[in-house]
């Protein structure tokens, strides 16, 4: 049995759809259920539905053999796993955003950065300004608007939320942030006969 860690939310439906096109029986994912552990009818696949940021932890530990997760989360978590495929969906970038007229804050000796990506922000700014990181869990755009932070460091997809709050991208730090297929380093070798054909199908499906 192959166990998948799948992200709830933004990527959930697209992930299920992609797996379905590769012959994985995902009908169990369409059922309206509060169960977090699901098994396909043919018992060949198990699915754990988890918060996107938790996918790498499940895959690194080998509890899940494969996972689908955004590159942003992979950069942030820095886990020891294989990134097998760029699934080319959910494309966005990781950017620094703030008020257009206050671009000069980026050179402030003391910069306040609000972000969900605490580890990544620390790395990005390591060789630059001394910064104060303000960890937030959502509605990051609110931070500069209310004066909690000077800039934000966050994923930008269309930029409409930024625009609605009068903010602009000041700098793109990582572009080409897309969903990735990740694999546990041991499963790839010990379950090769199950895992590899599926990875090949996924590779064909996204290319």
């Amino acid at each position: 049995m192959i166990n998948f860690a799948l992200p709830k939310g933004r990527l959930a439906e697209k992930s299920a759809e992609l797996l379905r096109t590769c012959g994985v029986d995902t009908s169990v994912l369409e059922e309206d259920t509060r169960k977090l552990v699901l098994e396909s009818a043919d018992r060949r696949y198990g699915f754990f539905l988890v918060k996107p940021a938790d996918v790498p932890a499940y895959v690194e530990a080998g509890v899940a053999d494969l996972g689908i997760v955004g590159k942003d989360t992979l950069i942030e978590e820095g886990r020891d796993l294989y990134e097998m495929l760029d699934l080319k969906m959910g494309e966005c970038r990781l950017s620094i955003a703030g008020y257009p007229e206050r671009r000069d804050v980026l050179t402030n000796p003391h910069l306040r950065v609000a972000t969900k990506y605490v580890n990544t922000a620390r790395r990005v700014f390591a060789d630059r300004e001394e910064i104060e990181i303000i960890p937030l869990h959502g509605s990051i755009e609110l931070a500069p608007v209310t004066g909690l932070a000077d800039v934000i460091f966050d994923v930008v997809q269309t930029g409409s939320t930024l625009k609605a709050n009068g903010l602009v991208v000041l700098e793109d730090v990582y572009t080409g942030i897309t969903a990735r297929l990740v694999a546990n380093k041991v499963s790839l070798k010990t379950k090769a006969e199950e895992v590899l054909p599926l990875i090949e199908k996924l590779r064909e499906a996204v290319s």
């Binding site: 509890v63 760029d86 041991v186 010990t190 090769a192």
Partner: protein, 390 residues
């Protein structure tokens, strides 16, 4: 905060688990001794400078540090192989040895998931040996050790850092850039590796090879694929070496237990040749890890080619449990109790039985009733005048 608790990432090992650990240790000791390895122990405390100023400097944030009474900085043994390289270079004049050890190492950073900060290891080092036969013997012995510990369905995943080193040496990367590419390739993230190499102005041929690298794993068929990807002499030598190792392993009957991965990107400065990991599907991280590190002892003043591996014993315990291969917990063969005044006879009886190879407990209290609480197979009660069997 409760000071009766332990800090993050370290654990006490309670009797039940400890007995399994010791039995694994006994089995390994027998296997090591049978193959002519000699035991060695390195000091747990060393100077920080020993590891901070070498070519393979360990990151300071990963070392547990404290200060000596004279103010010098000390560390808790951060790496068993480096300690043994130091011993070999400075204290073993012949420069050739086969050593085994049971040593813990400490990593201040790693914690969570499959990682602990105190890492209980067993390992072997073959010092002063070179060549495909030495490598193949080490790999075969690694597989033997996994079986010896009671693990089933083990796989040894084998690579060679020379292949990646060869591909990257043509790109004129700085050490930092090469390290970043290696880390990406080690994560099989060919996309990022290609981006970095493109920026460094790598040739199209190199890029094509690097693109293929994350898929270069499987059986012996990968050698032919790898051979077509590059003309780099060092990379091709690595493939040829692995082919020789593979032939010897097949000759010795180990072919079914090995697979190959030329995209393995373990530290390119630490390792110099083959690298390998022992895998079982029940644990998501390797239970065994090793490789060839011919240049490691150079930092300590002597060139000693070497190959070896370390076994993560905590992960082995997890694997044994999940595979249902835990050795049985032994019960006591006999329990003895006595009445007041018969202590001498009771102790003599215990010694008699122990001499016959039985495991015996002598109760701390007087009286027949204490015997009811023991799970020993035989129960004995000794009176002042003689023995009573219950």
């Amino acid at each position: 905060m409760s000071f009766k608790k332990l800090p993050t990432g370290v654990q006490d090992i309670l009797p039940r688990e400890c007995r399994v650990l010791w039995s694994v240790r006994d089995r390994l000791t027998r296997a090591f001794e049978a193959r002519g390895y000699e035991p060695v122990l390195s000091a747990a405390v060393e100077y920080y400078d020993t590891y901070a100023n070498i070519r393979n400097a360990l990151p300071q944030e990963r070392m547990f540090k404290f200060t000596d009474s004279d103010g010098r900085l000390l560390v808790l043994r951060p790496d068993a192989t480096l300690s043994i390289s130091r011993i070999a270079a400075t204290k073993l004049p012949e420069g050739q040895a086969r050593l085994y050890y049971f040593l813990d190492k400490w990593d201040a950073q790693s914690a969570g998931g499959n990682k602990t900060r105190e890492i209980i290891q067993a390992g072997v080092e073959r010092l002063g040996e070179e060549g495909a036969f030495s490598d193949a013997q080490t790999l075969a012995f690694a597989i033997d050790c996994m079986h010896e510990m009671g693990l089933s369905d083990c796989i040894l995943d084998v690579g060679h850092v020379g292949f990646m080193k060869g591909l990257l040496e043509e790109c004129g990367l700085s050490d930092a850039e090469a390290e970043e590419v290696r880390a990406s390739l080690n994560a099989k993230d060919g996309f990022n590796a290609e981006r970095l190499l493109r920026r460094a102005g790598a040739k199209e041929e190199t890029l094509a090879a690097v693109r293929a690298l994350p898929t270069l794993f499987g059986g012996a068929e990968v050698f032919a694929r790898a051979g077509k990807l590059t003309k780099n002499a060092r990379a091709l030598a690595a493939v040829a070496h692995l082919e020789r190792v593979h032939r010897i392993l097949a000759e010795m009957g180990y072919e079914r237990s090995v697979c190959f991965d030329l995209g393995t990107g373990k530290s390119l400065s630490y390792y110099s040749g083959i690298v390998f990991s022992g895998l079982v599907r029940e644990v998501g991280a390797p239970v065994l890890s090793g490789g060839r590190y011919d240049d490691l002892a150079d930092d300590f003043g002597k060139h000693i080619p070497a190959v070896g591996f370390a076994i993560g014993l905590k992960r082995v315990l997890v694997a044994l449990e999940r595979q249902g291969n835990l050795p049985a917990q032994p019960v006591f063969d006999a329990a003895i109790s006595c009445e007041e005044g018969a202590e001498g006879r009771a102790d003599a009886l215990a010694k008699q039985l122990i001499a016959k190879g039985l495991r015996v407990t002598l109760a701390a209290q007087y009286g027949k009733d204490v015997l009811e609480k023991t799970n020993a197979r035989e129960k004995w009660f000794v009176t002042k005048t003689g023995e009573v069997r219950i």
